[in-house]
Each structure stands twice: as C-alpha cells, then as structure tokens.
Symmetry: C2
Subunit: 241 residues, 2 copies
C-alpha cells in the first residue's frame, strides 16, 4: 500500500464524494455496491461504509428497498438551504446575545474581524485569506451560541458545499464587484458582533438572517447567467436543473 495510510473506507469516501460533488455522478442515480467496488477496485465492505457516511452527510439518501440514491438539488433546494443557514445563524446570534458571550470569545471574534478588515484594505483582495477568515467568524458565531445542538445542526447544513458561508467566493470573475460585496458582508459582521456585545438579541438575529441573503443573491446571480458563469463553478456541479 506504499506510503498512503488511508484506509480503503477513506479512499472510497473521498472517491465517491468527489464524483458526486463534481457532477460525475448526477442526482437521482442509484448506486450499486458491486459496480462501485469494481470501479474503485475496493471490496464491497468499505464501499458500504462509505455510502453510509455519505448518507449521514446528506449527499445520499436511502432508497425504499435498500440501496442508495444520489440526492438531487434543484435551485429551490439550494436557496432554501442557504436561507435555513440564515435562520440557524440568526438563532445562534440571538442565543449569543441572550446568554452573553464571554470576553474571550468576543475578543476572538473581534480579532478575526480586524484581520478581515486588513485583507479587504488591499487593492487585490486575497480571496483565499478572506474565505478562511470568514469561515472562522461563522464558526466562532456558532460557538458563542453555547448550544451544542445548534452548533451540530449548523455544521450539518454547512457541510453541503453550496451552503457553506464561504461558498462561491472563488467563482467570481469580476473582482471589483466581489470586493464591494465583501465590504458589505464585513459591515454586517461588525454589526452582528456589536449587537451580540450589546445584548441586542432581536437585532442580532435579524442581522445574521439577512447576512445569509448575500450568499443567496450570489447563487441566484450565478445561475441566472446559465452557461456563461455556471461552467466551472465547482460547488454548483451537483445541481440538477
């Protein structure tokens, strides 16, 4: 097995996930263990384990009489999922405001926002840097809610590639337009944190909910320009229509 220390299950998991996310296996397709085992040159047992985990992730669903089917996502599903993230993040922000965030957590969030400010100040924005800081802020928000349940469900939703807070950022062709978007988003970040610090729970919830609308607009924009932009947008390859 050379120097790869991955188990067969992990290989199967990576291979299948990649095929689904890239659109190589399209939504609605029934997956057959034997066929996959042959294709990936792995026995059925780890294939089954991988399929099961992909079902947990939400990329597959179980068919009625056994077997797995690749979930298909229409535009409406994508939009609803992003909105749902907004609802959950809104709840997280409200909890953080109501329950009170610790000074350490507030400081950590502040630090992230200052770093984002620095990234945005550059002429040529480092999108990758923004992405990871943005993800970190959203993670921090989930942590400040002090609800393991909520944090868990947010992680679930966010695992879908098109519902992550930093989805689609790398797919913009017009950097100037993107930069304006990011500046607005950062203004919302600051307002959310201010509301949390000031224990303004209603404001915090509304702001966080609205914040997700930016992502939604982004998707709708990308999809309204069919062939032109949609090609090459990795996160959208698994959409059905």
């Amino acid at each position: 097995m050379a120097h790869e220390s991955l188990t067969q299950t992990q290989k199967a998991l990576l291979g299948l996930r990649q095929r689904i996310l890239s659109g190589a296996i399209t939504g609605g397709t029934r997956l057959y263990e034997v066929a996959l085992a042959e294709e990936l040159a792995i026995s059925r047992t780890p294939i089954r384990a991988a399929l099961s985990r992909l079902a947990e992730e939400g990329l597959l669903e179980r068919g009625s009489g056994g077997g797995f089917i690749v979930r298909s996502f229409a535009l409406a599903d994508v939009v609803d999922t992003i909105d749902l993230r907004g609802v959950l993040e809104g709840t997280a922000a409200r909890y953080a405001a109501e329950r009170g965030a610790s000074p350490e957590n507030l400081a950590k969030a502040q630090t992230i926002l200052r770093e984002i400010d620095r990234v945005l100040a550059d002429q040529a924005v480092d999108i990758e840097a923004y992405s990871s800081l943005n993800t970190a802020f959203h993670d921090q928000l989930a942590a400040m809610a002090q609800s393991a349940t909520l944090q868990r469900e947010l992680a679930r939703i966010t695992a879908l590639p098109f519902a992550s807070p930093s989805a689609f950022l790398e797919d913009h062709d017009r950097i100037d337009a993107l930069q304006r978007t990011l500046i607005s988003a950062q203004a919302q970040h600051i307002a959310i944190l201010e509301a949390i610090a000031g224990r303004e729970s209603g404001r915090a919830e509304a702001l966080a909910r609205e914040h997700a609308r930016a992502a939604r607009r982004n998707v709708e924009f990308l999809l309204s320009h069919e062939g032109v932009l949609r090609e090459g947008v990795a996160s959208l390859a698994l959409l059905t229509d």
Copy 2:
C-alpha cells in the same frame, strides 16, 4: 424469533434503539461490535449497519478513532433541541404564509384541528387520539412550508424522542392539568393556521415558535420533580443528569 421476517439488521436496529432509549445503555458508553454481536446473537456485519443508521438518527456519534459512542443528552440539550424545533416550525409557518398554502392543504389542516376539538370536548380526553392528531397537524405544517430542505431537517430533529411535538403527553399523572395544557395548545394551533391563511407571516412564525415553549415547560416541569415524576417517563430515560 420464529416467523419474524425482519432482517438481522432490522433486529439489531430495534434492539439497540430500544436499549438506548430505555436507558439500558447510558450516554457516553462506547459500543463494541463484538460485544453487541454476542449479546444480540447477530454477526458483526448487521451490527455495524445498525450502528451506522443510529448515527444518522442522532442517537450515536462516531468516536475519533473509529467506533461509536452513545450520545448523552443533558437537560440543556433537551431544552435547546425543543427550542430549535420551535425555530424550525416557526420558519415553516412563515414559509407557508409567505408562499401561500393550497386550499387543499388548508382544508386538511382545518379538518385535523376540528377533530382535535372533538377529542378535547370529551370529559376523559383520549390522549392517544390527541397525540396522533397533534403529530398529524405538525406534519401538515411542515408540508405546507413547501420546502423539502426544511421538512427534512424538521424530521431529523423530531426523530429524537424528547423533541417530538407529542412527547411527554402520555406521562402526565394529573389529567385535568394536562387537559388545560392541551386546550391552550389547540388555541395556538388555530391561531397559527389563521395566520397562515391570512398570509400574516410574522405572526405565524412568532406563534409557532411560542407553541414549542409549551413542550419546553412540560419537560422542565417533569424534571423539576426529580424522582417523583421522572421515573417511568420513557422519553427521559436517556438523559444523563
């Protein structure tokens, strides 16, 4: 075991779920495939399949180095989960109001509510009948939202025994107190449906969210009377503290 046509996986699933929900296996316990296989007289393969499905259900979590651990639920988790159901049902009610429910769906919901009225009119309330009608109303609410994503997540949350809309109903010892609770709940049902029919989305969301608070109060009440009431409350057997 005779004429049972259940597969081994299904037997394992039922056996394990029962053991977890009843508290026979307590939260935090690591589950070992071989031990379970011996105990249930089933080979490891179906045991693994069952464990995997229980992880999907949210009753187990995967340990870091492989293996499964029984999730433990503290009171705070139960309360947060019920509140989360409220948030999601609130969103469902808002969507139903915003997107407009079909006359058929509104009529179906109306019918359910009239049947609940009839059940509540009896001197001795048929709690089982109320339970199933209540569940039907909540299911109908989820369907009226016209969002597969939301419906899916609601189903997930509701699968946890203590987060179901009809949890704890059968555990009341004072029927008269319970009856008063149910009458208030039914008033909320009626108001929610009225708000949806009238396209009052804000009102619908707020009402549905508040409606879940009744379930939350119920749990808090049951748990505040430690030994007295808590014993024999099946849905609470899996709580840790």
